[in-house]
Structure formats: structure tokens, C-alpha cells
């Protein structure tokens, strides 16, 4: 990271960037919280309170895990720290269709701009989550290193955010349905054994159940085919795959994709506690830059 950046890049717990990537790119994040067995824990992407295995095993055993937004005070303290150092803040948030955190961030940003004259806080709704959001943050860092200012970077990220594609599959949609974070016709629910929904992030940042695939392996094949079809200039970009305690499946998926699309390299990551609590164990999500997402879940007849 270049020390002469004009602004700090801040994400939140849904960006699923591990410590290595955050350090390498210089990305900070503000934690949301998860509530497990009546105790609230900051949603650490380094799994400080529960290991990923512990966390997803608890879900497999039926433990309900709830999540809460980034608290106002956390935004205040973190943003203020950067502003006090003379840096502007570019906050790239979880899709507003999945978390309302960005609303608090916007209010806090205006408050702080008044307190720190001349400093700017820009909040960009990523309209995606997990490593899709993470990839946009890394792109913002690249601009910061080129010496761009916060407004230019915010405009650029806003302009390209819908080229960040998600194709994903979950073990079953019950987790997402329980928290109301999926748009799907009723035909996707019920005892559909072996039926894997394919989820994309739509033009408004909603998880949209696009189609059904029978069998977990067939679902991975479909994700690979979709990735190969939708990715633009794969040879110039990194492929990101995030998984919820299903690394072996993620590796298989990576190999399937790389057989069909020549990505420069591939990075696997664990889905963090916030996204994980909504999607459930076994989820596989692929992120890449591709064709601009235009699908609108409601117009698609769902």
C-alpha cells in the first residue's frame, strides 16, 4: 500500500477479506455483530470468537444466529480516526438490499464532515457482498494508490459496481428465507432434496434465485459454466471464490472454472460470520468482473 493515499478504504464485516488481503491492500473494516445463544459478538473476519468450523457446525446443528448492523458509535470512532489523520474516507458497504448499515454511515459521514471541515466521507453501496464487495474495495485501493481523490474513486466504484458479478449456490434456501434476504418464487421452497438454487446478485443488490439445478456437483458445473459465460477478460483478473466451511467443494469448483475460463489467478476465502449467518454452511459463491448485471428480480417474474 502506498502511504501517500488521500483517503482510507473502509469496508464492513460482509466483505469477507482475510487478514492477508486486508493488510496487503490496506483495507480496514467496521464490524457488524452476531448474536449467538443470547451473546453478542463483533463479526470478526479473523474468527476471533468462534472458529469458522465451530460457527458453521453450530448452524448445522440448528443454532439460530442473528446479526445486527454496524453500530453508529463504531462508524463515528473509525471514520473520525482517519479524518483526524487528514485522510478522507471511502466506505464501501454491504449491499443495501441486505443490510441497512449504509444509512447510518451516511448520517455519521455528514456529521463528521461538519466536525472536520475540508474532509470528506463518501459511502458507496456495493450492491453485492462477500468477495464481490471485497473485490470492489481492492479496486478502490488501486485508485488510491494512483493518487486519485475520494470523490473520483467513489464515482468510479459506483460506475463499475454492477460489473461485479456473483454466481452462488446454497445447500438450501431456508437460511436466506428465514432472514428475508432472498427473492425467489415459492417453487424454490419446500422439501426439495438435492435441488440447488443458483443465486445471483441482481441489479438492486438482492440475492435472486435464478434457477434450480439438481445435485451439488451439477450445481458446481453450472456455476463454472455461468462464470465462463459472464466473465469479461478473465485473463486480466483474479477469480474469487468464497465458501462457508466447504473448502473441498470450493477447490473442485475452482478447477472446474479454470478449465473453462483463463483467470489470471484464483483466491479462495471463507465466508465470514455475517454473510454466513444468512446463507448457511455449504454455500459456494463465485465473484468476478463481467458483464453489467441488468437482471431485476421483480421484473424477472418472481
Amino acid at each position: 500500500m502506498d502511504c501517500n493515499r488521500l483517503f482510507a478504504v473502509v469496508a464492513d464485516s460482509t466483505c469477507d477479506l482475510d487478514k492477508d488481503l486486508r493488510d496487503r491492500y490496506g483495507i480496514d473494516y467496521v464490524p457488524m455483530n452476531y448474536i449467538l445463544q443470547d451473546r453478542e459478538y463483533p463479526a470478526s473476519l479473523d474468527w476471533e470468537y468462534h472458529s469458522a468450523r465451530e460457527f458453521y457446525d453450530l448452524m448445522r446443528r440448528g443454532e439460530m444466529i442473528r446479526t445486527t448492523q454496524v453500530p453508529r458509535q463504531v462508524y463515528l470512532d473509525r471514520f473520525a480516526r482517519y479524518l483526524a489523520q487528514g485522510l478522507d474516507v471511502l466506505y464501501i458497504s454491504c449491499s443495501s438490499a441486505l443490510s441497512g448499515s449504509i444509512n447510518t454511515a451516511n448520517l455519521v459521514g455528514r456529521e463528521l464532515e461538519a466536525q472536520f471541515p475540508g474532509r470528506r466521507v463518501r459511502c458507496v453501496d456495493s450492491l453485492i457482498s462477500s468477495l464481490g464487495q471485497g473485490a470492489l474495495c481492492m479496486e478502490a485501493c488501486r485508485l488510491a494508490d494512483l493518487g486519485q481523490d475520494v470523490q473520483a474513486a467513489a464515482d468510479h466504484i459506483t460506475a463499475i459496481r454492477l460489473t461485479a458479478n456473483q454466481v452462488a449456490t446454497v445447500e438450501n434456501l431456508e437460511y436466506l428465507r428465514r432472514v428475508g434476504r432472498v427473492t425467489a418464487s415459492s417453487a424454490f421452497f419446500g422439501n426439495l432434496f438435492g435441488v440447488k438454487p443458483i443465486l445471483i446478485s441482481d441489479a438492486l443488490g438482492r440475492n435472486f434465485a435464478l434457477k434450480k439445478i439438481k445435485g451439488a456437483l451439477n450445481a458446481r458445473r453450472e456455476l463454472a459454466a455461468m462464470t465462463a459465460r459472464l466473465a469479461v477478460r478473465p485473463e486480466e483478473q483474479t477469480l474469487y471464490i468464497s465458501h462457508a466451511d466447504s473448502e473441498a467443494a470450493a477447490i473442485q469448483l475452482r478447477d472446474l472454472i479454470l478449465q473453462q475460463a483463463p483467470f489470471r489467478d484464483c483466491r479462495l476465502g471463507c465466508i465470514g460470520p455475517i454473510v454466513g449467518a444468512s446463507v448457511g454452511p455449504g454455500t459456494l459463491a463465485v465473484y468476478f468482473f463481467g458483464q453489467t448485471v441488468t437482471t431485476n428480480a421483480e421484473e424477472a417474474g418472481q
Binding site: 418464487s185 417453487a187 432434496f193 438435492g194 434450480k212 439438481k214 445435485g215 451439477n218 418472481q302
Partner: protein, 547 residues
């Protein structure tokens, strides 16, 4: 035999002969059912053919009606009550027979022969790929070979025809290897033989009594659970009785059936009323059976009465009572067992016809379901190879929607297709494409008890052993059910490519056994995901969809 030989038949006479044929088939129903290729307890050909023909027998019109018209009604009744492949073929045969007799007031043996030829032709048309060694062969060979001699009476003609049918039937195992392996003759052919035997018996003045169970046909054990105590009466009562007309109460000799029918029409619908030899036989669907009985009592005394709440009749479709708004797409499926029916409704079927393994729904039950779902495009999942023809027949008769029959041959295939339903698709073709995408990869497996000793596929099977089979092959047998399931799976040729096994478990299976099976299956085949649904079906411990 003192009677004069019959050389012409009126409508009433032919109807009475057919009724005698029906009664003879009914008496031998169990024997026909037992002619089953596999030693599994699902033989139902006898029952299907009986119930099919019963639709014709019950369609009785006033006996003075001309032969052609009477047979047209008879054929229509048979068509609507057709169930099972053998039933559909029989109904087409009867329908061809009626076509051959259209506009005739009476017929001679040669005229009947020509009509029978048309019946054969029409029954072949009913199936896309006619298989020889079945009832088709039995009818074709005999009807073609036996031609009435000039002046020959009906009883002599039928005597020769019946012998030819029996010979042809005995020959069926030579034409169809599965029959030979199982050591049985074709069941549908046997059913036809019993029908014609009964007709010959009538010609020889040997009239069969309607046996007691015949009068309870269609009133199989009811699923009481389908009647909510708070339900309003939605369907009324199916009411049937036979009344001994009494001279003290009515004019028995010049009995006025028409005015009886017009009074009944005020009390209900689906009326069949016949007066014959001092008896009045009535079938009516009414919301006030007590008024029907009181009215009947003014003319005589009852010999038998039966009243059935149609909401709980075994064959009634399980449905929401209120009329549904018009949908773009709707799926109509058949299922056996309440558990399976509920699973189907839960994952998107608009209507489930509770067929039962040995109680197949008729054409008219499909038609009723089509009307109830009220959709532009109706997709039918017959879920039983023995219902595909019935579903197709109903689809052809139905004019108020575009009806597509997917050829799902088992509950497992139907479940697989329905689980892939995506009703948000733009066209019916897309919906069907999605539903049928994985069907070629579905293998249906069954585990049940053997009904007899047998040696099949190199397996020595003892009666009551558990046997594991696919649609066409017995693959495992033994006394330990879990072992039979695992061996069955292991012997599927493409098990290593399978990704999902869904168990529909029957009434006799404990959850613990499924836990053990699931653990063992995922251990042996890590790629496979196991699902389970409480099917509560009879006869089969497990029906499994392996895909």
C-alpha cells in the same frame, strides 16, 4: 339348453350380455390381479378392467333404446371410468365396438364381428407402441380368426371365439419374455377372456347374480383423515339403492321411469335409474339423500342401500374446496398415500389425485382435476406407467386447457420433475424443459416384500423376503431390509454418478433405520445427498428416487 338360438341382438340384450361379462370378470378379479410379472403385491389389472367396464354397465339408458345409441352411452361410460393401461385399452375396444354398431337397432353375428374388428383396431390405436403378447394380441388373433358362419347363432360364434381367445392367451408367454420368466399369462388378456366367457354364459342362459361386493364397488376403505369435522358438505352423497317395487304403492307393470327420473333430477345429479323385473335401481349424487330415500319408499321397499360422503371417497381428489382463479400453469399429479400427496402439494402441485397403487384413478377423475385447477396450461404427472394412457385419454378429451402429459412412470420420477418446477418461466415449453431436464437420470427403486417364492435375475427369493427392484429388474433380496437397500444401490450400474437419493418411506419404517441408511450411503458414496419424505404408502417400505 331349451331356448331358441339367438341370431340377432337388441341393444338391451347386448347390454345384458356385457353386464354378464362384467360380472364374470368381477368374480374372477383376484385371479386376474394375481397374474403379476413381479412377485410384488401391486397386481391391479383385474380391478382396473372391472371398474372400467362398470362405467359402461352403469351408464344404462332406457332399454328400449336402439342398439347403436345404447352402445354409444355404454362406450362413453367406459371411456370415462377407464383406469390403468388395461382399462384404457378395454375402453378403446368398447368404443370401437360401439362405432361398429352405430345407427343399428339390432345386430347379427357378422355385424358384431365387424364391430369387434373395429374394436381391435381402436385398441391398437390407443397405444403408441403396441406390444404383442398382451390383451391386444388376444383380441386381435381371436377376432380375426373366428368368423361367424352364415346363419350361425351367437352362442356358437361366441363359443368358438372364446376358445380362440383362450388359446391365444395361453400362447402369450411365448411372445413376451417377461411373462415366460414369471410363469404367468398376460393379465389383461385373461380379463378379456373372462368378459367374453361371461357373455357366452349369458347366451347359454346362465345369468350371473350381481354379487354382494359388486354392489359396493368404488367404496373402498376411506381416508377418514381427509374429512375435517368442520367442513361444510361440498360434494354431497353418492347414493345408490335397489328398490323392490310394490304393487300396493305403485303401478309395477306400467312403471313410469321417466317421471321418477324427473323427480330425482330435482334432488341431485349424475342420475342413473333402471327399472327391470319389478326392481328399481338408482344411482344419484345428492345433498339430501334422506329425501331421495323417502321418495323411493313411496314406491316400494329397499333391497339394498348405500350412501357415501363423496368428500371422503377414496378416489376423491385432495383439493382446496373453493374454485381457483385462472392460472397460467398448473401441475396435476397422482400419488399414492397421504404423505406423498402432501409432499407433492407442498412443492408445487396444484392438484393431487390420490390414485393408490391398486386403485387407479379413471379418466373422469383426471378430467375433474383438470377442471378444478383452472389453468391455461396443465402439466400432468401420471407417476405410474399404468396411468400414462389414462392421463393421455383425459388430456385428449379435455378442451378447456392445453394439457401436457409428462411420462413420469413412478412417484420418484414425478417428485424429481416437480422439484424442478419453475413456474416463473415464460412459456410452457420452458416449464416442461426444466421439469424433464433430469428425468433421464432418475432411477426408481422399490423395496417391498415378495409375495411368492421365485428365482429372478439369479436371485433366489423366498416369499416374504425383502426384495429390492428397479422398474424392470429385481436386484437384491434378503431378510435384512437395510442390506437389501444398500445392495440394491450398489448394483445400480451408474451409482457412482448419482448425486441425490430421496426416500419415500412407508408406514412400516422407523426413523432410526433411515438414520443408519443415510450414514452408510454418505459413507460409501460421498457425492450423494440423502433426503427423506414420509410417504406413508402401503405395500412398499421404500420408494427411492436415485438421480
Amino acid at each position: 339348453m331349451t331356448q331358441t338360438p339367438v341370431t340377432t341382438l337388441s341393444g338391451a340384450q347386448l347390454h345384458r350380455l356385457l353386464e354378464n361379462g362384467y360380472r364374470n370378470l368381477k368374480r374372477n378379479l383376484a385371479a386376474v390381479d394375481a397374474l403379476n410379472v413381479f412377485p410384488v403385491p401391486d397386481g391391479d389389472t383385474g380391478k382396473n378392467m372391472t371398474m372400467t367396464l362398470e362405467g359402461g354397465v352403469r351408464s344404462t339408458q332406457p332399454p328400449e333404446q336402439a342398439l347403436g345409441e345404447l352402445m354409444e352411452h355404454f362406450a362413453h361410460g367406459t371411456l370415462l371410468s377407464a383406469r390403468g393401461n388395461s382399462g384404457v385399452i378395454l375402453s378403446q375396444f368398447v368404443s370401437g365396438l360401439a362405432e361398429g354398431l352405430a345407427h343399428k337397432t339390432t345386430c347379427t353375428p357378422s355385424e358384431l364381428h365387424r364391430a369387434l374388428l373395429r374394436g381391435v383396431e381402436k385398441s391398437y390405436e390407443a397405444v403408441i407402441h403396441p406390444v404383442e403378447g398382451t390383451m391386444l394380441t388376444v383380441m386381435r388373433e381371436s377376432v380375426e380368426a373366428v368368423i361367424p358362419n352364415p346363419g350361425e347363432s351367437f352362442d356358437l360364434y361366441f363359443d368358438r371365439l372364446l376358445r380362440a381367445m383362450q388359446l391365444s392367451l395361453a400362447h402369450t408367454p411365448e411372445l413376451l419374455d417377461v411373462l415366460k420368466q414369471a410363469g404367468v399369462v398376460d393379465s389383461g388378456g385373461a380379463g378379456m377372456v373372462y368378459i367374453f366367457e361371461g357373455m357366452l354364459m349369458g347366451l347359454q342362459d346362465n345369468w350371473l347374480e350381481a354379487d354382494a361386493s359388486a354392489e359396493t364397488e368404488g367404496f373402498s376403505p376411506v381416508a377418514i383423515t381427509t374429512l375435517d369435522p368442520n367442513n361444510l358438505l361440498q360434494f354431497g352423497y353418492c347414493t345408490e339403492f335397489i328398490l323392490q317395487l310394490q304393487p300396493t304403492k305403485t303401478d309395477v307393470v306400467h312403471f313410469d321411469l321417466r317421471s321418477v327420473i324427473s323427480r330425482l333430477e330435482e334432488l341431485g345429479e349424475s342420475i342413473v335409474a333402471v327399472a327391470d323385473k319389478g326392481l328399481l335401481k338408482v344411482h344419484i349424487h345428492s345433498f339430501a339423500p334422506e329425501e331421495v330415500l323417502a321418495f323411493a319408499r313411496t314406491m316400494g321397499e329397499f333391497l339394498t342401500i348405500k350412501i357415501e360422503n363423496m368428500a371422503v371417497q377414496h378416489h376423491e381428489t385432495i383439493t382446496a374446496p373453493e374454485p381457483k382463479p385462472r392460472q397460467r400453469f398448473a401441475v396435476v399429479a397422482t400419488a399414492q398415500g397421504l404423505g406423498i400427496a402432501q409432499s407433492f402439494l407442498e412443492i408445487g402441485a396444484a392438484q393431487v389425485i390420490d390414485g393408490g397403487q391398486t386403485n387407479n384413478p379413471s379418466t373422469s377423475e383426471f378430467l375433474k382435476a383438470f377442471r378444478q385447477v383452472n389453468a391455461d396450461h396443465i402439466i400432468v404427472l401420471p407417476n405410474n406407467s399404468n396411468l400414462i394412457l389414462t392421463a393421455r385419454q383425459a388430456a385428449e378429451l379435455y378442451t378447456d386447457a392445453d394439457v401436457r402429459v409428462l411420462e413420469t412412470r413412478s412417484i420418484a420420477e414425478g417428485y424429481s420433475a416437480l422439484s424442478m418446477l419453475e413456474p416463473g418461466a415464460d412459456s410452457v415449453e420452458e416449464v416442461i424443459e426444466s421439469m424433464t431436464r433430469y428425468l433421464p437420470y432418475v432411477t426408481t427403486c422399490y423395496v417391498t416384500n415378495a409375495t411368492r417364492d421365485a428365482v429372478l435375475n439369479g436371485l433366489e427369493i423366498r416369499k416374504d423376503d425383502f426384495i429390492g427392484l428397479t422398474d424392470d429388474t429385481v436386484l437384491a433380496a434378503g431378510t435384512d431390509r437395510r442390506q437389501v437397500v444398500l445392495e440394491l444401490l450398489a448394483r445400480l450400474p451408474d451409482i457412482d454418478e448419482k448425486q441425490v437419493v430421496t426416500f419415500f418411506y412407508g408406514k412400516d419404517v422407523a426413523p432410526q433405520e433411515l438414520d443408519e441408511l443415510e450414514a452408510e450411503i454418505t459413507r460409501r458414496w460421498p457425492l450423494i445427498e440423502v433426503g427423506r419424505l414420509e410417504g406413508s404408502q402401503e405395500l412398499y417400505s421404500y420408494i427411492m428416487s436415485v438421480e
